[in-house]
Amino acid sequence: MSVVRRFSASSLAIWIVLAAGAFLSLFPFFWMVVGTTLNPNDVIRGVVLPGDELGSNWAKAIKNYRLGLFFLNSLKIALLTVFFGLVVNSLAAFGFEKYKSKARERVFGILLLTLIIPSIALVIPQFRLFAFFKMLNSHAAIVLPSVMSVFIIFFMRQNFKMFPTEIIEAARVDGAGELGIFLRIVAPSMKASFASVAIYIFLSQWNSYLWPLMTVLTEAKKTLPIALASMMNAYTIEYGALMIIVCISVMPVLVLFLAMQKQFVAGLLGSVK
């Protein structure tokens, strides 16, 4: 009975669907790696077997395109945003949730209201602001506007709700200061949600495109996505080096995701509940 069922036509169809989905998901990444070893013509034709140009593609990417600089720029911007984003948003969420007051609830309501405003409506006045202070083309211009996030404050506040207020009160009786309570008691017990938020911020900053596209003006300040986009718009496209840079902008994120999948999915699901 079970043998018959396992090989029935419908279960075969199911396996075909699942396999096709997996193939479609993975193929672009597989080909991305293959592409780094191909000569430009083979990249365009989409040859699926590895070539022997890996070394020269690497050399071109580093010599002609300052790959190392773009990578470090992206990394620096993403890590700074993660650090300040964690500090600012977690403190705010803690303040809103554990020190409730009518005034702060009203402020929180205004914050939530701005969640519906699409970023395209904010970036133009923001651009004018940075232009006014002559701060365009700086990494501060990329980091600063993305530190505070209403969505993350909301998400972390939901998590702080689960932390028992009795523990905070007990610590106060024992003479702990408020900041000490946050740093030594609350924060360490919420490592998982801090990790989820850190990954979320890192990914959105590492992959961000629209805002850096507006503010980055010189080669020296480019992040990986900006470098890639401008390579695609160049008069002649150096496909070998391009594939290397594609790979460098995708690989760290894939590794990070595979290593910390649990926190990632936990963060994702927390946002639904």
Binding site: L18, R128, L210
Partner: protein
Amino acid sequence: MNKRGSYYRYLNRFGWLCVGPAMLLFCIFMLYPILSSLYYVTRKWKGSTDSFVGLGNFARMFRDSYFFQALGHNFLYMAVQIPLMIFLALMLAVILNQGIKRLRGTLRTIYFLPCVTSLVATSVLFKILFQTNGLLNNIMIGLGAISEPIGWLTSPFWANVTIIFAMTWRWTGYNMVFFLVGLQSIDTEIYEAAEVDGAGKARQFFRITLPLLTPVILFSAVASTSNTMQLFDEPNVLTTGGGPANATMTAALYIYRQAFVINSDFGYATTLSYVVVLIAGVFAYVQMRLLGGKRGS
């Protein structure tokens, strides 16, 4: 009593201290831009100088058929891509939820992968693979599916297909994970009872699974709608600035081009962005009504 009052004031002050840095950043990077945009919509830039035009930008907008064409593309993607993606995600989630235990985790990871990667990088990849003489056409010709290469990026119709494909590739797994969680929260006893009552698999799906999953599906649809309204990266990179011949131009890309590429008219671009905010607001309102209504029933 007095002592308690001063302790309360101390806690209240600490509360403000906690939210202070976030409030400061909010005022600079959200509140001020929102308020200053009220000024920008009344200005028109010509070169580096700007002048007052009152409601002139709005009058200009209503005559701007290109902008409404761009908005039309956003709605096209909402109408075609979101249902297609939700159907696929639901199908994969239901299949994964039934029976397949051994590979469930691995497959979930694989399907989820595309959405964590850089949109620009994957758009570049697709742009290479979808070229007229690229891999996709070569495979399809090799298989005999087509005799002439398809202009995935050069024909207005196929360029839209390519955008929809790229979006579906990226977001199906993401939505599937939501659905999978929703499915796992459904009590299996309901299915066992239905089985006893003689309800077939299809009937179980339409009578039990779908109704119970509706809030999650709705949430997905709403989130996707809001993302599609802001679609920018794919049409700018994959189909090069909304091409061919504006066939994949979206509202966000059009606004960006008004401010940074074609002219530097920040006033007009801000005015156009008000329309996007208005539409997003309408969607948010509908979302609250739909989700709120469901909770009541």
